[in-house]
Symmetry: none
Subunit: 195 residues, 4 copies
């Protein structure tokens, strides 16, 4: 049992536990004690390392976004054309680990959190902006600028909507069909207004 350098280990465990608890509860209404217990530490330690419950949530949010960003990057590695890159971005959203119930639930909860916390709103905005510009950048070679903006908005909304449905257990489609729905939208829109 090492006694030094525990901080990053504990922090990681607490963040993971927070996501798991939030995912399981489907809400941010989880207690620090629950999170700490799941992480195998006392609630005092959670406060010791994070300072407050909000900070735990923000760290979890950052973590989830980092996971997503890394996934996007990894998917983008093999992509060569704009179309491939667009598909890669969408694929990242529906990767099994990303589309897992607890992660989806967490995303949704953080969306709600963003309405109350300035920092959460900031984080979420960074994410939405990055996603948007990423989409637009790869759409522009394939259609005109105005259209690129619209398609990006449509894709993003579609993904969010499908996430919600999934979180609610109201998505009749499986993972591939879900992903297919978005790809199909993209194809249709690009087919329509192609350069």
């Amino acid at each position: 049992m090492p006694k030094l350098g525990m901080e990053p280990i504990r922090k990681a465990a607490l963040i993971k536990a927070a996501i798991a608890e939030i995912g399981a509860a489907g809400t941010l209404e989880v207690t620090v004690s629950q999170i700490a217990r799941r992480a195998g530490v006392s609630s005092g330690l959670a406060h010791h390392y994070f300072g407050s419950k909000d900070q735990i949530f923000l760290a979890a949010m950052r973590h989830i976004q980092t996971l997503f960003r890394d996934r996007v990057r990894s998917e983008l590695k093999a992509a060569r054309t704009p179309r491939e890159r667009l598909n890669a971005i969408i694929a990242a959203s529906f990767d099994p680990e990303e589309f897992a119930p607890e992660i989806i639930s967490s995303w949704l909860s953080f969306y709600v959190q963003a309405q109350n916390s300035v920092e959460a709103k900031r984080l979420l905005r960074i994410y939405t902006r990055r996603l948007h510009s990423n989409l637009v950048f790869n759409l522009k070679p394939l259609t005109n600028a105005a259209n690129a903006e619209l398609i990006a908005a449509g894709v993003a909304a579609l993904v969010d909507g499908l996430y919600i449905r999934q979180a609610l257990g109201e998505n009749p489609l499986d993972r591939f069909q879900t992903m297919g729905l978005v790809w199909d939208y993209l194809e249709l829109k690009l087919g329509q207004g192609a350069k």
Copy 2:
């Protein structure tokens, strides 16, 4: 000043106040006292009429769904063809009163609530099912059955996704553009797989 027959009046006021509070907070984390205060009554009375906080939320949820259902019905009155009816359903979702910040925020909050409360989940399911069958029913004359299901799923997801973006203040489109995005999706899909 008759004291009889106050129940429906008080209940309505409390429901309205609950939606307003939830909408303003962007969360279900509002207190019964806040709701009661906004309704101009004591918190005791809120419990007297509803029994518990959860019941207030469920009543508010039912109310919002009723408002939406009525709006759909009203929009459908003038519609004669399946296409008109589909457009009417979408139009109902983006009616100014439906697309108002507090209503959108409430919808989102209730989506979250559905993850915890069986009754909330049941209510939400009724709504999603009705919307889905309504869409499918009007899509079937225009495309094949499998496609109708997919399009209905797409439209529903798109609407939900656009609601979220709107709730977050991250929707770059105005109300008409937002609605147009959905109509456009529908047109494209129907143009593609038309009977």
Copy 3:
């Protein structure tokens, strides 16, 4: 058991209990629960009526100052000359109820509190300013202005110092001797620089 208009009754009881607890402990390190228990109510109620622990303390401080001010006024009623008024002010400080252990202890605690709380500092300043101007006002007819300021400062310091000694149980003098010490100082100073 009346159910209406309890607020002032409860507030008064809580303030009294707070002073008693602080006096008994000799510290502000008393818990809200202790105060509430002594007042015969739940800690929740204390917060309900005061909002926070700090507010309870501030209310207690205000109460103690009000008691003192009233006592000064009452003592001043019978005073006709400046000298009588000066004696009256001093007498108020050493009235048996004012010089009671719990009241003295509370004064001392609030002096400490003033170092942390802006509002407490403000309250204390009001009190010290009022006392000072009260003294100076009655000293001016008896000596020159500069001297009046000095004597007022001396009297105030002497009173505070004697309070501390009393709080610590280190005052070898009884109440009358204590009061006499201050009167004596006053007489000496006035005899010295009399107009």
Copy 4:
């Protein structure tokens, strides 16, 4: 880098840090961690050397009293007559280092502490007794015994009162005027009842 003989160094650093923290906070409500951090060590070490928080406070109190005692001794060196010695004792109280905000604040805090801790009370009593007998001893050659007791009580109260005013930032006098106030009191009393 010898590890032996660290104890006195660490203890001294911790005591100094404790006084600084208490002085800055104006309260004993400082954490062991704060003190340790200011001393540049871990909170564990503070406990290692002192055993408990209370012991740290007591040590700090002793230190402050030792500083004062040394200062009195040093001032007394040059004093030849009782009157000079009395002036020297007073001068020690208002030496710039003794009259520094953090030291004054600490004194006041320890006065409060004495109401709770038996040991603190004992320490404080030793100090007050010594000061008292020191004053009385030098007063007796100049006045009668009973008067000497009274004057000693008056001087001590005056000094304490002026300290409080200073701690609260409510002392309108500068250091010399403050000291002058006490000297003046002494002169007056001695002039009055001189042998």
